[in-house]
Symmetry: C2
Subunit: 235 residues, 2 copies
């Protein structure tokens, strides 16, 4: 019997493949190849052949769209257990780069597509995730096109607070929460479609208004969650 490479998988119960039984998983495992990438390293380049897809095991990746003259926009972030890549596309549309050290479980695209077609349950799961990603992308279009700089930054802070596992989201308990920003000002600017300077100024403004406290460049405390939510428009 072969060794179960999924045994110690950190996202075993959250990734796409969680819907497979042992036998099916063994088949998929046969296609899989583990890959480590260092922070800053690019996993796939826009324009090249779409040769692989992957499950993200650990770390954070960004998907970047760029113009010919070098303007960049982060169009998606991927976290552990997320699916990455562009099945059914001949060519990669967006450059995928690691923001932190990361680990991937990669599959050659064609065989993976065939596997999807033969395992409807997983295909359906990927469909659900893709639909959700589409909704998020569309919501972000509103942010990019119509929100002011202040609203954009407030919204992103709330997003990151929620993702960091704090309770700064909706409800009542309004205790201050502290967390680490998972990205630089530059990345924030790339996500929001603005410049580093403007992001910085907006953060300074929030600090001045007593809404947040900045302790070093990467640690934020949300003091007035209500005020922050009010500034974020809450589509």
């Amino acid at each position: 019997m072969s060794i179960d490479v999924c045994a110690g998988c950190p996202v075993r119960d959250r990734a796409l493949c969680r819907c497979l039984n042992d036998q099916e998983r063994l088949v998929l495992t046969g296609l899989c190849q583990r890959r480590r990438v260092a922070a800053g390293e690019t996993v796939m380049w826009a324009g090249e052949d779409s040769r692989i897809c992957a499950n993200l095991l650990s770390g954070v990746l960004k998907a970047v769209a760029a113009t010919a003259d070098g303007r960049e926009q982060i169009v998606g972030l991927s976290y552990p257990a997320d699916f990455v890549g562009e099945p059914y596309a001949a060519e990669i549309g967006f450059t995928i780069t690691a923001l932190t050290d990361a680990e991937l479980c990669t599959f050659p695209r064609r065989p993976f597509e065939r596997f999807l077609e033969q395992h409807a349950r997983m295909g359906n799961l990927l469909l659900q995730r893709t639909l959700k990603a589409l909704s998020e992308a569309r919501a972000r279009m509103l942010t990019l096109a119509r929100l002011s700089a202040g609203e954009k930054v407030a919204e992103l802070l709330l997003d990151m607070a929620v993702r960091a596992g704090t309770s700064a989201g909706r409800p009542g308990l309004e205790e201050p929460v502290t967390f680490e920003l998972p990205m630089t000002r530059g990345h924030m600017a790339d996500v929001l479609g603005m410049t580093i300077e403007t992001v910085s100024r907006q953060l300074t403004k929030l600090k001045g208004a007593g809404v947040i406290v900045l302790s070093g460049a990467r640690t934020v405390t949300i003091v007035d969650a209500r005020g922050l939510r009010r500034r974020a428009v809450a589509a």
Copy 2:
């Protein structure tokens, strides 16, 4: 034997259901309900329960995201044979409104989801379309966030020219092409995340530069396709 409601379907060979055999199609037909909507009428409202999905038979629909204070952004356009709606979502995320008179083949969401799960071939087709829509949404994020007003308008003109079936896209033959704009200046502004006035000024500028000719507000002739493409950055 029941009457085949798909017999005269205008998108029979392009819609999702083209992958079904006669028997499967009959089952789906049992769920389907035809619906006509007039230009300007809203098919589903953001925030309400996600109760139906649909195939678009004729006409053009827009999907709109909006802020609480009324700012709007068109996040997607749907054309005949496109799939519309948000399966696997409890709540509608984006208001869908008809830009022209339109006809839909609607399905109740839950039974449609069950059908999808039981007909992997169609599920896979929807997955492929959703992946493509996601790519397009992400590409549009770059446009919204990083292109100048002039670039946005040039890009949209090329898009519309291609969709109108002209040859203004990539290749060499640079003969002037004429077509009808399928939308108002207001809709163009809503798609591009700008104002009506700015759209109009950019069109005037293109006219002044001899790149296009405007014959009435809705008819455009692209005289210098090369120049237009150059202005559109061509991500």
